[in-house]
Symmetry: C2
Subunit: 146 residues, 2 copies
């Protein structure tokens, strides 16, 4: 349980981050080219990819995006203004706002998701390598010592 870390550990951690950053960067750029700020794209995906019995709401979206509820309120406000999301107050609980994607959002998200799939398939092997390399690579190389 020591804090010892080899140069190789730091290098692997840094490379992992670099790979993740490239993905995020690709994603943000792709979204931006489609006319969507990165977080708005993420919100659309979270809404579209949500599988649950009850409808998507502001609070649920906040949970999935790991942002504060009031931040989700602002984000959804922007999405509604831009015509990507329909927000209606839930008749079953008037505190809640149900969220649905518009056709415009479905179209944009379909195209974006397709190129994301391609990019992910390209990145995955490298990423999996990095992750498995970090798996049980305990300090001082004591792998099967004798």
């Amino acid at each position: 349980m020591s804090d010892f870390l080899s140069d190789a550990d730091y290098e692997a951690l840094a490379n992992l981050r670099f790979t993740l950053r490239r993905f995020m960067d690709f994603s943000t750029s792709a979204a931006q080219e489609a006319g969507l700020p990165g977080q708005q794209h993420q919100a659309l995906l979270a809404i579209r990819g949500y599988r649950g019995d009850d409808p998507m709401t502001i609070g649920l979206l906040a949970e999935r995006l790991l942002i504060a509820p009031h931040t989700a309120t602002e984000l959804v406000g922007r999405l509604v203004s831009a015509g990507y999301v329909a927000r209606r107050s839930d008749p079953k609980d008037k505190r809640r706002q149900t969220l649905e994607l518009t056709v415009k959002a479905e179209d944009a998200l379909r195209r974006l998701s397709a190129i994301h799939l391609t990019e992910i398939r390209d990145m995955a092997p490298r990423l999996i390598d990095l992750l498995t390399g970090l798996q049980d690579d305990e300090p001082q190389g004591r792998k099967v010592p004798a």
Copy 2:
């Protein structure tokens, strides 16, 4: 090469993002608790994990962090002010600034990296599952058709 995507595809993409976000969130929180803004932690890791013949510089750091060089300038400025990085002008090329971690940075980074390793090892199986699930999961389930 169609844009068709199943509900399951969207769900998997959304889950992948959720997993990545949780990692980023964990990382940022851990850094913050150690007194470091997230990007500053990333910068320290990029400097520490860099393997190359020439020393780390502002421009190299910008490349590894995927930020504009002038943004790296500002970031390094903050790191120097906070006592995490020593910046010296490179005698071999006086335009360049070489960057080195201080002992304070090494200490903070060691602790942070140790808990990151733990978290990554915890997250990796889930992440690898999601990635492999997206690998060749072409639309309409045509896996080994006959």
